[in-house]
Point group: C3
Chain length 253, copies 3
């Protein structure tokens, strides 16, 4: 692996640690106490180690928590990752992603353009988050979960309040379709499917389909059929869809 | 208060006025006729005084309206504020916020990441706008209003048209929950609550709850109960939630 | 037309071609093999010719497809256009627009702030896309279509899958209102109107109104009336709304 390559326009703190083979494009800002793992790419206009509110309360006394990304990350342009975030290996994100402080993101995660992870949340390994997804603080997203475009995970049942704040939990292999909104504290069970534009107010059992505003149970995911007949069995999705997953990480189909 | 601090990479017009203690991060663009009040922070990649359409029609003849922000503002990265915008003191915004021309924003307002204020609108004091909110032109948002993530205020009942254009009015203390869309010209009454993912086609009375697609009246906000029993009285929200408000600005609880 | 004007901070590849009168603002990145037509403006923090996934798989062997924009384009700040995109003349976009590879966009198209065109799609002439619209890969948007804020065009009926992927087709003059989501493969007929926050699962006939979750037929667009009586005839919209269209391109009203 080659030397690090930092575009001369970028502003990189002397206290940042860049692994071998790291490539940083133009107009990036890498703040203090950032660690970028080997072979990671940053496109242009990226900010790593963005300061938390503590900086503005006391700029001189502020000591940033570390921000760790990679190795082998691809961070696309205009993305902002805060101090106090840990992102595992082989991360890939779209443009203008935001990940706020206190977030722990697993390995081999992909996050789409304009998505906004509000912080103090966990996302497991192989999580797939599409474009423009909003994840409230204190959400839990387990391994192999899919959140499609414009999904919203909320954390305040009676806004604004301080006393009831807790995000949803999305169990592994679950799929939340485009435009769905999930209520605070709701648990989406393992392998469950939430239909597009659904409003999920109550827990969803494992391997169950819910749809509607508000969402109601349609039946087991095993009964979902493919409209054009190209798939004999649609769910569990890993029975036919394995693109991007190394051999052995998904159940046998 | 100390000197102004402008990162050497930033491009600041000689006709901009920066108060004492202003701190401007890397890669910002501050156009002509911008005024930044004392003690304000601009993070990186921010644009203030962004040109209106008139510039592109006649670049040499263009004379920008002033853009005024602060004092004591925190403008986070990749935000764009147009010429012809006035934002009051103690403003704070997330990343990639857009505020277009003709907007007047009050004091102590917070606007979340990716929100898009389309211009020619007013927002009062202590307004709280979360992430990814869209506010159409000619909307009115009174003091102490909350707009939760992905709320959309629209202004054209028969798109596209020129003759019917008027935005919603949201009266003080009202709360519009995540993903709700409000029709043009609709008035959300003082202290009203719009449920998540509701489509609001008609005026909402003061202190009234509406939910659904299309929204229907559920009852008075005084009857909303807290699912986990932690709150005896949920609304008015200022009876229990006062974080971030100086003493004396909210009604007595 | 005057000389090209490139802000000294911007990074422009020697293999990019800039027409006469092109003006490029600060902190832009113009990659290899980009062509910007005469008289086009790029605001600040724009990226043209953004690399596709092939670059990250093999940086040294990567050869970018051309990225062509203009003439007479206005590309607002923080926008990203990929290699392998062709955009016609008189293009105008808001801030932070994304257009990914394999997209062919016609002439006189406008795309609003934060909209995300996922690539491998076509958009015709005079298409109007508002803020924060998501267009999935393999979508087809014909001439004179309007997509209002937060519209989502999806392309996977059984996410995640590989076998059923196809985007919607929106026929000319059709209008999709704010917050509507359209299912994969659905055809929205010529001149049709989709109501706000509708979920469109089935094809919509020409000149027909659909609304709801899921969407149901309301009737012909010719029967839509204007609430405040200012318009005798609301649809077809081009019978009263012709702003921004040169004479002769719309049908006679």
């Amino acid at each position: 692996m080659s030397e690090t390559s930092v575009h001369p326009t970028s502003v990189v703190s002397p206290s940042a640690t860049l692994g071998p083979g790291v490539e940083i494009g133009p107009f990036c800002v890498v703040h203090d106490n950032v660690v970028v793992g080997d072979g990671s790419f940053l496109e242009s206009h990226v900010v790593l180690g963005s300061p938390t509110a503590g900086y503005y309360a006391d700029p001189r006394g502020y000591e940033p928590e570390p921000c760790r990304i990679g190795p082998s990350a691809i961070v696309r342009s205009h993305t902002v990752v805060y101090a106090g975030v840990t992102v595992g290996e082989s991360f890939e994100c779209g443009h203008r992603v935001t990940i706020r402080e206190g977030s722990v993101v697993g390995a081999s995660v992909r996050i789409g353009t304009n998505s906004d992870l509000q912080g103090h949340l966990t996302a497991g390994d192989y999580v797939r988050i599409h474009s423009n997804v909003f994840v409230a603080q204190h959400s839990t997203i387990e391994d192999f979960v899919w959140l499609l475009p414009n999904v919203t995970l909320t954390n305040d049942p009676h806004p604004p309040s301080d006393t009831c704040t807790v995000g949803p939990t999305v169990r592994r292999y679950a799929v939340v379709s485009a435009g769905a909104t999930v209520f605070p504290g709701v648990e989406i069970g393992e392998g469950a499917l939430v239909g597009a534009m659904s409003l999920v107010r109550h827990d969803v059992e494992a391997n169950t389909v819910v749809v509607g505003v508000p969402a109601r149970v349609l039946g087991p995911t095993s009964e979902v059929t493919c409209d054009d007949g190209k798939l004999d069995r649609v769910y569990p999705w890993w029975s036919h869809f394995r693109r991007g997953y190394p051999e052995g990480v998904l159940p046998n189909s």
